[in-house]
């Protein structure tokens, strides 16, 4: 899915030596030690319990996995998925026009513009969120501006579902912009021009030529936004309200205040299971579509 980078088979095979095997062995051992084994622990710990003094220990209890099957959690799970989906849709609505404008109308400033889009995303997410929190608060700069210009009595932006989703879009929209931009970059402009002759009008051309030609960028972006959005806990923590808890918050709470690591691990596993199921469904859908066209 997020298969990275081109990896064509080499034209010829190099003569076999121990060197390549050794090169592969060290990082593989690392990944097994620090990633694979850690994931196994995550799956096994839910069978455990917490001791009197608050230590998680292995055991054979099913309670923690069973605890996941709870109306409140299921509702929260649905809510998280909805937020993540809304994030994907909003990101696409913002990212596509932006990528389009830069890729096809950016001229010689194209690279500078796309760099300008990317740069903020590597500059402290937390600080930017906190700045927004201050700017959007009821007495903040934005609301003062609204009141000052006579545009009503100000808006309670913060602590709403939309604030959380806005925070998620803000955090991850770049992962939507870049793949779309990349696919627009590869788009053959003459196709669009031909489309204009054929379909008349830029709108119909867009929907019958440009959009289909760049759909893989859109798919890739959707996945790259959905995954981190579903696991995020910072946005709901900083911008959310009383009813905007997400799965990430739930997990984080078990590990920090809840002091119930086995339950937290069970929630983590639940989250991964949900993600895997959604990913499989998504892959099925996109590959079927790819085959049909």
């Amino acid at each position: 899915m997020v298969a990275l980078g081109p990896a064509p088979a080499p034209r010829r095979s190099a003569q076999r030596t121990w060197l390549w095997g050794a090169l592969l062995a060290v990082p593989t051992a690392w990944m097994v030690a620090f990633f694979v084994i850690s994931m196994v622990i995550v799956v096994l710990l839910p069978f455990g319990r917490t001791t009197n003094d608050g230590f998680p220990v292995f055991s054979t209890s099913l309670d923690n996995y069973r605890a996941l099957w709870n109306d409140v959690y299921l509702e929260l799970f649905v809510r998280s998925v909805l937020y993540a989906l809304a994030t994907v849709v909003l990101s696409a609505l913002i990212a596509y026009p932006t990528a389009y404008a830069i890729a096809l109308h950016g001229g010689r400033y194209k690279n500078a513009l796309i760099a300008a889009v990317v740069v903020p995303f590597f500059a402290s997410y937390l600080i930017r969120m906190y700045a927004w929190k201050a700017l959007l608060s009821d007495d903040g700069l934005v609301n003062s501006g609204l009141r000052g210009s006579g545009l009503g009595d100000g808006i309670a932006f913060l602590n709403t579902p939309w604030a959380v989703i806005g925070g998620l879009v803000y955090g991850f929209v770049v992962f939507m912009i870049l793949p779309i931009y990349a696919s627009l970059e590869r788009l053959d402009v003459s196709l669009v021009e031909a489309g204009k002759d054929l379909y008349h009008g830029p709108v119909r051309t867009f929907f019958s030529v440009t959009l289909p030609a760049t759909r893989y960028g859109l798919y890739g972006g959707a996945l790259l936004v959905f995954l981190p959005a579903l696991g995020d806990f910072v946005s709901a923590q900083l911008l959310g309200g009383a009813g905007t808890y997400m799965m990430g918050n739930l997990v984080q709470q078990q590990f920090n205040e809840g002091q119930n690591w086995p339950l937290g691990s069970a929630m983590t596993v639940g989250m991964m299971a949900a993600l895997t199921a959604l990913m499989v469904a998504y892959l099925r859908a996109t590959s079927t579509q790819a085959r049909e066209t």
């Binding site: 010829r12 095979s13 190099a14 003569q15 076999r16």
Partner: protein
């Protein structure tokens, strides 16, 4: 295979062969790419492996260089079996098709790379590099990065980088393929001159028959992993021994027929007299080939074999004119005529003209 018999015939310049291949075989995932190849290349020889792409010539070269392990058979360099020797210990060097220059080093760094590996002292190294650059006429480019050089210059750097190690054999993998036509012709001449000057055995891989014929002392024609024919350029051109060799080098009028009373019957009305061919018996199906430029449309002599025909098409090619002459239903010959000074446009034949084609019997080559 007929090739094996011709390939290993004793060499006039003799001595130990520079490169010997014995039953060399390479199988890739069930496909035999090189099939029991036997070959000897003499010291100081300019030897070409010629064949269409995918015929196994590059694989053969890579097995000689050591980049690829033979499935079977052995490679000898200077009489020594190097089949299981890693590339860096083989006394051969390669000029790659892409040149494979080291972009992070300048020209001198590239050329001196091999010698530095051998641990030569600085002064000797500098002198040898300068000499080599002199030889390939790049003395003033020593400090340039390869990316700033033209195609021809890059090619010469690649050559210098390999030659400076004075290998027993220099392997060249289509080194001229990336150059444009004019430059390629110039480089062919230079390469040949260079080879004479340094006296190193060149094993040259190409799919370009002109290149192979004009530069080589000997040419081996490969097809589907086997040697079709091996000999001097004249041998392989004038006396091809297989249908493939005749078809691949130059153009030939190839006709198949049945051997009958010293002639090959290629059509009910056409029996072409042919020299006796060993191993063929009365009634066998054989092929005959005649080069288009050997066929005359007039000025025949008595020794020539002659046939009536009709001009089907005339194509003007500048230095030559090419005719298609029908000699029987469904059977036409290509004839190439020089446009000599005395000829004018109206002297050419036009479609529909009735003509007589003729050639000397020794120009009829029988193939099996």
């Amino acid at each position: 295979m007929t090739a094996t018999t011709t390939a290993s015939k004793p060499l006039s310049r003799a001595g130990t062969p520079s490169v010997s291949l014995r039953g060399l075989t390479k199988v890739f995932g069930g496909t035999t790419v090189v099939d029991h190849l036997d070959l000897d290349v003499a010291g100081g020889e300019f030897f070409s492996l010629l064949g269409p792409s995918g015929c196994g010539k590059t694989t053969t070269l890579r097995m000689i260089a050591g980049f690829s392990d033979p499935t079977d058979g052995s490679v000898l360099v200077g009489g020594e079996d190097v089949t299981s020797t890693p590339p860096h210990k083989r006394d051969v060097n390669t000029v790659f098709q892409s040149y494979a220059l080291f972009e992070h080093l300048d020209v001198r760094g590239n050329v001196g790379f091999g010698l530095r590996r051998k641990g030569l002292d600085r002064r000797t190294l500098d002198r040898r590099v300068s000499e080599m650059l002199e030889l390939v006429e790049l003395a003033d480019k020593g400090r340039e990065k390869p990316s700033r050089l033209s195609g021809g210059q890059r090619q010469r750097v690649a050559l210098a980088r390999a030659l400076i190690n004075e290998p027993k054999v220099l392997l060249l993998d289509e080194p001229l393929a990336a150059l444009d036509l004019q430059l390629r012709h110039a480089m062919q001449a230079e390469l040949k001159a260079l080879q004479r000057e340094v006296g190193i055995t060149f094993l040259f891989v190409t799919h370009d028959q002109d290149e192979a014929l004009s530069m080589s002392d000997r040419v081996a024609i490969m097809n589907n992993g086997v040697l079709e024919q091996c000999g001097t350029p004249e041998d392989v051109y004038e006396r091809p021994t297989s249908v493939f060799a005749a078809g691949f080098i130059g153009t030939s009028n190839l006709m198949s027929g049945v051997w009958s009373h010293g002639s090959v019957v290629v059509a009910p009305s056409v029996a072409i007299p042919a020299p006796a061919h060993h191993g063929s018996a009365e009634g066998d199906t054989v092929s005959v080939a005649v080069r288009p430029e050997k066929i005359w449309l007039g000025d025949h002599t008595d020794e020539m074999f002659r046939l009536p025909g009709t001009i089907e098409a005339t194509t003007y090619h500048g230095a030559t004119t090419r005719y298609r002459v029908a000699i029987a239903p469904g059977l036409a010959l290509t004839v190439l005529e020089q446009n000599l000074p005395r000829m004018r446009a109206e002297d050419r034949w036009d479609p529909g003209d009735r003509v007589e084609v003729g050639w000397l019997p020794e120009h009829t080559v029988v193939l099996t």
